[in-house]
């Protein structure tokens, strides 16, 4: 059985990076989905033997540099997300997409809690309730992201 196609993997990450720093109007910025996490969850879920904690951590470091965050903040978050995904992947792959979406939301909320601690230690201002909006938007987008990446991956493997 062929593994993941590197082209689709790299392409999905580049698109996620672009969406991460795409300028949004100020009111919409807090609702920006955590694209990189969505993409990494998909790859961890579908190819747990190849994409693991280490790969997610390295991707997270790139996100840190891309957005100018403290080096290691997103690395830590994505490593934890992918670890939990790897533990769940046998069960989660059998769930319908809407149920997966709830789990993804919970994962990302958990990530925000961890980031809140770290940002609090650094002294950054995380604002009000909008801080928790992004995981919900990400969860709503999960079925769409999953189907699209799945279609791309399947097609590239067939050809």
């Amino acid at each position: 059985m062929a593994g993941l196609s590197p082209g689709v993997f790299a392409g999905s990450l580049i698109v996620a990076f672009i969406l991460t720093i795409l300028p949004l109007p100020e009111w919409a910025a807090p609702y920006r989905p955590y694209w990189t996490a969505l993409v990494m969850i998909y790859w961890c879920l579908s190819f747990p033997g190849q994409i693991g904690v280490l790969a997610s951590w390295l991707v997270g470091l790139l996100v840190d540099v891309l957005t100018g965050s403290p080096l290691g903040l997103h690395g830590l978050g994505l490593a934890i997300i992918s670890y939990i995904t790897l533990i769940l992947h046998r069960r989660a792959r059998l769930w319908p997409l809407w149920q997966q979406a709830f789990v993804v939301t919970a994962l990302l909320l958990n990530d925000r809690v961890i980031a809140l601690w770290i940002r609090g230690l650094i002294g950054q201002n995380t604002g009000g309730w909008e801080y928790w909006a992004s995981p919900v938007v990400s969860g709503l987008l999960w079925p769409w992201v999953h189907s699209m990446l799945n279609a791309l991956q399947t097609r590239s493997r067939r050809s």
Partner: protein, 349 residues
């Protein structure tokens, strides 16, 4: 198709254990990285390398925005352009008038300083840089510039716009640089009250329109509407640049310190082009012969400063950034002594 994966061939425990080990390793590494990144400069080469890696993505995001702006610019009608031209012309006339008196004042200042045998102020060179239209980490106040070490940008250079101080460069790549705005909660800016020379430190609050001065006593002579200018202490920012306007002073008699908030004069969230001040050197012994910059010099400087390297700085390409000739810069004012014991301010904490 998706159901089978190479993971199925391994026993579940070994895979779970190995990912747990790598999780523990990378979590500790992340904590170490965050600590080092914040406290020390060991990671600068690593960060610079990775910055170069992600630069094409940042550039790609900026490109359509830039293109859109260009499109808008090329589609404006003639009347708008004529109107704008007229306003600019008038503005230029006024500025030129001001500059003439400024040149006179500067010459006078030089003479007086020579009489007092104090070191002459060194005029600074500036680099003009554009902001890249990308959204960075929403919880820190950073902006991305389209010039890096190749364009003469160095860590620590102050950043200005037409209205005042914006921030300083915290990280550079070969083609891009990250700047921290003065409103970042990790930023401290040494300032003084323009009216009476009272010194303090303006800290960022995390809101784009707010700074606070937490260490001035309750009875400090400061009031709403006071202009705060940089004091030059700490050596990071040039002296006398407008920084903020005091918006609120709360004096609680039970508290030792007044609660003072101020609004930055620079348009931190709207400026597209910024000026970077290149300080000539920290040693200010050599007197600068070109103390009288005229308006025409500045116009040509704006054009040439874009691609001027910093290494050789011809005297013709200098712009003096100190536009105020404030009478009070002597440190022996007894009212100001209380904030003098902060030599490390002006740095990021």
């Amino acid at each position: 198709m998706l159901g089978s994966s190479p993971g199925n061939k391994q026993p579940i425990f070994s895979q779970a254990t190995s990912s747990l080990i790598s999780l523990v390793v990378v979590v500790s590494l992340s904590v170490l990285l965050m600590y080092l990144d914040r406290r020390h400069a060991y990671l600068d080469t690593l960060r610079t390398g990775m910055t170069t890696l992600v630069y094409p993505i940042q550039r790609a995001v900026d490109l359509p925005v830039r293109g859109g702006r260009w499109l808008v610019r090329s589609l404006v009608n003639q009347q708008t352009l004529l109107d704008e031209n007229l306003t600019l012309r008038q503005q230029r006339l006024e500025d030129q008038h001001k500059l003439q008196s400024l040149a006179e004042l500067q010459a006078e200042n030089e003479r007086l300083r020579a009489l007092l045998e104090s070191a002459a102020r060194v005029p600074e060179q500036v680099i003009v840089a554009d902001l890249l239209s990308v959204d960075l980490d929403p919880f820190s106040h950073l902006i991305l510039l389209d010039k890096g070490t190749r364009g003469g940008v160095r860590v620590g250079q102050p950043l200005l716009d037409a209205e005042g101080v914006m921030g300083q460069i915290v990280e550079t790549g070969p083609f891009s640089a990250y700047a921290m705005l003065i409103t970042d909660p990790n930023h401290a800016l040494p300032v003084r009250v323009h009216r009476n020379g009272l010194r303090g430190i303006a800290f960022g609050t995390g809101f784009t329109d707010q700074l606070e001065l937490p260490d001035l006593p309750v009875n400090a002579d400061i009031r709403e509407g006071d202009l705060l200018v940089t004091s030059g202490l700490g050596g990071r920012y040039p002296e006398g640049l407008p920084a903020a306007i005091v918006t609120e002073v709360v004096r609680d008699p039970t508290d030792d310190f007044a609660r003072i908030t101020a609004r930055p004069t620079a348009m931190l969230d709207r400026s597209r082009e910024v000026l970077l001040v290149v300080s000539r050197s920290r040693v200010t012994t050599e007197a600068e012969p070109d103390g009288t910059t005229t308006a025409t010099d500045i116009v040509s400087d704006e054009a040439t400063a874009k691609d001027a390297p910093t290494e050789e700085m011809p005297a013709a390409e200098t712009i003096t950034s100190q536009d105020d000739s404030s009478p009070d810069q002597s440190p022996d004012n007894p009212d100001n002594e209380q904030t003098d014991d902060t030599p490390e301010d002006g740095d990021t904490r």
